[in-house]
């Protein structure tokens, strides 16, 4: 399954890129994060992040679908 993952802010810097296409068998958004975290060592616990799929917030246990665009959202600091 192909999933697009976009990175922002600290995760973008840690990953060293803004976007990538992942080939994954992760069944859920949370599983995908754990897979990427194991691969790249973000050092950020999931409980401090939020997930978004296709430009809206998502639960961690949402099932992934081919072509989904996923973002992991570090603690925000707008304003």
């Amino acid at each position: 399954m192909k999933i697009q993952v976009d990175y922002f802010a600290r995760l973008r810097e840690l990953r060293g890129l803004s976007s990538e296409t992942c080939i994954t068998e992760a069944p859920t958004v949370g599983d995908l994060y754990e897979e990427l975290n194991r691969a790249h060592g973000f050092g950020m616990d999931r409980e401090h992040l939020r997930a978004a799929v296709n430009d809206d917030f998502s639960s961690w246990n949402r099932s992934l679908c081919e072509g989904d665009r996923v973002v992991f959202i570090p603690p925000v600091a707008g304003g």
């Binding site: 802010a9 600290r10 978004a52 959202i73 570090p74 925000v76």
Partner: protein, 150 residues
């Protein structure tokens, strides 16, 4: 109305645009770049947004404010990119018949924005260090709680 923009925010024009014959009160908020944060001396900032979701979430916040308070106008603009000390990072304007609801709506919008909208701030300190605000602590915290996963 909400927008993200990489150019300076013209607060004067935005305040003028919020107008209605029944409006008795305009409360506006300018969030400006401070020269210090939590005891560290700040040199400049960078803001980064996730535009698709930032716009969607801000529209929800503005709609929620519109349900809670009887408003005649409500708008918000947030900067992205590099900002210097004194620059306006965010502007919120709330227009209403009476002042109470304009104060409440303006404060509601900026409070919710800070908690919910995917915008991030990287502080560059005068000592040369730089950090994504909220995030260093979060990573430390995660490490503290789950040292084996570090």
């Amino acid at each position: 109305m909400f927008r993200l923009q990489a150019v300076p925010i013209d607060c004067a024009a935005l305040n003028r645009e919020l107008a209605a014959p029944g409006a008795g009160a305009l409360v506006s908020f300018e969030g400006r770049v401070r020269n210090s944060n939590e005891g560290r001396s700040v040199d400049r900032l960078e803001y980064e947004a996730y535009p698709g979701l930032a716009e969607r979430e801000m529209k929800r916040i503005l709609a929620e404010a519109g349900e809670r308070f009887p408003l005649l106008g409500l708008a918000c603009v947030h900067r992205t990119g590099a900002l210097e000390i004194g620059d306006v990072a965010v502007w919120v304007g709330a227009l209403s018949g009476h002042r109470g609801e304009a104060f409440e709506a303006c404060q509601f919008v900026i409070d919710e924005l800070k908690h919910r909208v995917p915008i991030w701030k990287k502080e560059h300190y005068t000592d040369g260090d730089a950090e994504w605000v909220n995030c260093a602590r979060c990573a430390e915290h995660a490490g503290h709680r789950h040292p084996s996963t570090k």
